[in-house]
């Protein structure tokens, strides 16, 4: 992991997940410590926001993020000059002093909420809410997903190599707190050494390692539930409804930090890559860092025409260099003129690849047709909510039609009741 220096200024947005904004609890001019609460979860579904670095609140305003615009934000001028990497947390307690069992799911959820943890998924919700929902639905199977959500994300490999203890500890807590039957660790079987390493390291624990192909979109919770447990999620429901809690691997080390030291989620390991990045790699980047600072530090090898927050398949375009990184930012891709193809849509040639390759068995061509004719009510019989928004239909379409966009649009317009 590469070190990222602390930027001159941070704009910490109050919305960093798919939910309502947190409420600011600090005034301009105040000195805050790293990890101090600056935005409080006021309503259901919102999340706590903490100061990523020690510094002074310099102002209050609005910023853009990749997935939201004009979000209320706090301007923070850091006074610590240390890098944002592990160096800042040298005083770690060894994880072996932690309890093996944490029987109370409420406690775990409260700790997660206090630390402002997200579930690291897309769409992103608070981890505490997710755990409570799982408990109330009586979830007995937990799947920890270590397969990258997108082909370009490299973080899970790093976490698997570095945080074995944390991963085992956190799964044990989840296991006992949810009174689970089993914890499945879904791993990319192409790295056979890591898989066998984890098999032996987790023997004697409730963890079962399953080696899976890493073919995209294997990392999607819906497909994992099907592949690992053979349970098909009924239309319009989520894995929790069939008794499965799917968690991203990144949740576990974050949960351990939160429980161990009340260390809130203020940064994230971000894969910076793409053909225009001069020094690509995994950086630990604070939330609220402006893209201008990131580009300035990572350097450019070609001129950038598109900045993607997230991966190539499911990411979002960043429209301004003044936009900032949030808890949702899993990776940053910098594309140059040659790699960023602007689609040139033509008429559909009825090749059927969109239907053939859709992991949910949908007919994206028909859904696009419904959007173009402007009658989304017809879409109900096409079951648009089965879409996992993987982007494969647009990826394969030789006519370069905006199929994924159309399906996502319909999902927003058509209500779920069948």
């Amino acid at each position: 992991m590469l070190d990222f220096p602390s930027p001159a200024v941070l704009w910490v947005p109050m919305i960093q997940h798919d939910g309502p904004a947190g409420c600011m609890v600090v005034d301009v001019g105040r000195e805050v410590e790293r990890g101090e609460l600056i935005g409080e979860a006021a309503e259901a579904g919102s999340l706590n926001v903490h100061a990523p670095l020690t510094g002074r609140i310099a102002g209050i305003g609005h910023v853009d993020t990749a997935r939201a615009f004009d979000v209320p934000a706090i301007q923070l001028e850091p006074t610590e000059s240390k890098g944002v990497d592990e160096g800042a947390r040298e005083t770690r307690v060894s994880s072996s002093t932690l309890p093996d069992e944490l029987k109370d799911i409420e406690l775990l959820a409260d700790l997660a909420d206090g630390a402002g943890l997200t579930d690291f998924g897309l769409p992103t919700v608070g981890l505490g809410d997710k755990l409570r929902r799982a408990a109330s639905k009586g979830v007995r199977d937990i799947i920890i997903n270590t397969i990258p959500a997108e082909p370009t994300l490299l973080v899970t490999k790093l976490l698997l190599a570095k945080y074995l203890d944390d991963i085992i500890k956190a799964t044990q807590w989840l296991y006992s707190a949810l009174d689970a039957r089993r914890v499945w660790l879904a791993m990319d079987r192409s790295d056979a050494r890591q898989v066998t390493g984890y098999r032996s390291a987790t023997s004697g624990t409730p963890i079962r390692v399953v080696g899976l192909s890493n073919k995209y979109p294997q990392g999607s919770p819906t497909l994992l539930t099907k592949v690992v447990l053979g349970r098909e999620i009924p239309y319009g429901q989520s894995p929790i409804d069939v008794g499965v809690l799917v968690l991203e691997l990144e949740v576990l080390p974050a949960l351990v930090s939160a429980v161990r030291r009340n260390e809130p989620m203020v940064d994230r390991i971000v894969t910076v890559g793409g053909p225009a990045a001069k020094r690509p790699g995994n950086y630990r980047i604070c939330v609220g860092t402006r893209y201008a600072d990131i580009l300035g530090y990572v350097g450019l090898s070609h001129s950038v025409v598109r900045i993607i927050d997230g991966g190539l398949m499911k990411g979002a375009s960043v429209k301004s260099l003044d936009a900032v990184v949030t808890k949702q930012t899993s990776s940053i891709m910098l594309l140059d003129q040659d790699t960023d193809r602007i689609p040139n849509p033509g008429p559909c040639i009825h090749c059927g690849w969109c239907q053939e390759d859709c992991p949910a068995g949908l007919d994206p061509m028909a859904l696009l047709d419904v959007v173009e004719r402007g009658c989304p009510s017809e879409a109900k019989s096409l079951f648009p909510h089965a879409c996992i928004e993987c982007g494969l239909c647009s990826y394969v379409c030789p006519a370069e039609l905006p199929l994924t966009e159309a399906v996502v649009e319909i999902k927003q317009k058509v209500s779920l009741d069948v």
Partner: protein, 397 residues
């Protein structure tokens, strides 16, 4: 680029927006046409070797007419698409593959014009047609110029004259045995043969009281050329129909690129094998009466599985594999899902063999594809994929 050169940050407002995915697997439809063209050119090369410059003559006429008609229409209608020419070129090349090398110039002219006009321009281009343009053109010339496109004798260059020989006149091969046994030193550049597809569609001439096995053995031994000859294509036939090896290589290319889907190939071949083994062959007795013999595929003779050999001949004869591997996978006129492709291949296999064996029709593969194309709408409606989570939900433990 030197390492310390500093690239400036993008100007404000210059960053692109737009929805994901930002990564596309297939950059437009032109690469599809290019892959099919590459596959077709493998077949054309085999035709060039077997039939010499006559292949180029037919190919040039066919391609020129196809491009001319397409560009005339796009000029007239002012409807220009970057890829319409690429597809017209493909139609021209594939159409040439379906013709024998000896046809008069007016056959490719009429056929290619027909293919482009009826097949591609009138329906409104790629994606809107129901029937494969090439097959429409081929059926048109089959009806208009029957004797030209299915001649009694097929010409093929003699050993020693491949590629450079002149396809003209020639000596009837049946009196001399197989192509390979023809003496190289002879001055004859062209041999005339009857392609196995012709023999297989006609009733077998035999005598009463002959057993199934003996009859088929007689057919294979005395009338049909050696089976390997049908693989190399030295039995004559259409430019692209003759050399089965080239067609298979082209098909493997399409299979590898994902344009040809294996369920279609498997379904077509399995159904063709089963039907040829089962369907009755018609026989013509010496006294002029017709009869039928069931289950020719099970025939054995003196311990030889001649029935299986007979089935093999049917698979490699004539246009079946060309239609299956090069024409049927066309994205626009084939079904949407893989299950649909299996049914599509099944129809092609069944109809080709039924028309050939029961009705004695020449060019039955093209008719089969037309019929299968017509069925695509029905196939698509009945082979929709099951949407994830909409039925058969496993119980929650």
């Amino acid at each position: 680029m030197s390492d310390n050169q500093v690239i400036p940050l993008p100007e404000p407002g210059s960053l692109r927006s737009g929805a994901s995915p930002y990564w596309r697997g297939v950059p437009g439809v032109v690469p599809i046409a290019a892959t099919f063209l590459l596959a077709a050119s493998i077949v054309i090369i085999s035709g060039l070797i077997l039939f010499g410059w006559n292949t180029l003559r037919v190919l040039a006429i066919s391609v020129a007419v196809a491009l001319l008609v397409e560009s005339t229409f796009s000029l007239l209608t002012r409807r220009t698409r970057s890829w319409s020419e690429a597809y017209a070129l493909l139609v021209g090349v594939l159409f040439a593959c379906t013709l024998p090398p000896t046809v008069n110039w007016h056959v490719p002219v009429v056929g290619a014009a027909f293919a482009i006009m009826l097949g591609q321009v009138l329906p409104g281009g790629v994606g809107n047609y129901i029937w494969h343009p090439v097959v429409l053109g081929r059926i048109a010339v089959q009806i208009l110029f029957h004797d030209q496109v299915t001649p009694k004798w097929s010409s093929v260059l003699a050993p020693g004259h491949l590629l450079w020989g002149n396809l003209d006149g020639g000596q009837e091969l049946s009196t001399l045995g197989s192509w390979g046994s023809y003496p190289v030193s002879q001055d004859v550049q062209t041999l005339l043969s009857v392609p196995p597809a012709e023999h297989l569609r006609l009733p077998i001439i035999t005598e009463s009281g002959v057993s199934n096995g003996e009859m088929i053995a007689g057919l294979v031994r005395d009338i049909l050329p050696p089976w390997p000859d049908t693989l190399f294509g030295v039995v004559g036939g259409g430019i692209g129909e003759a050399c089965v090896i080239a067609v298979i290589v082209a098909g493997l290319l399409l299979l590898w690129r994902g344009f040809l889907r294996w369920p279609m190939v498997v379904a077509a071949i399995v159904s063709a094998v089963v039907l040829t083994a089962m369907l009755p062959v018609r026989i013509l007795l010496a006294d002029g009466t017709m009869a039928t013999r069931w289950f020719p595929g099970l025939a054995g003779w003196e311990g030889l599985p001649v029935g299986l050999v007979y089935v093999c001949y049917h698979l490699t004869a004539g246009e079946f594999l060309l239609v299956l591997l090069l024409l049927a996978p066309d994205p626009s006129s084939s079904p949407l899902t893989s299950r649909g492709h299996a049914w599509f291949g099944f129809i092609i296999g069944v109809v080709t063999i039924m028309l050939r064996v029961l009705m004695g029709m020449p060019a039955s593969g093209y008719w089969a594809l037309i019929i299968a194309n017509t069925m695509v709408g029905v196939i698509n409606r009945t082979t929709k994929r099951r949407i994830f989570g909409t039925w058969r939900v496993k119980p929650v433990y």
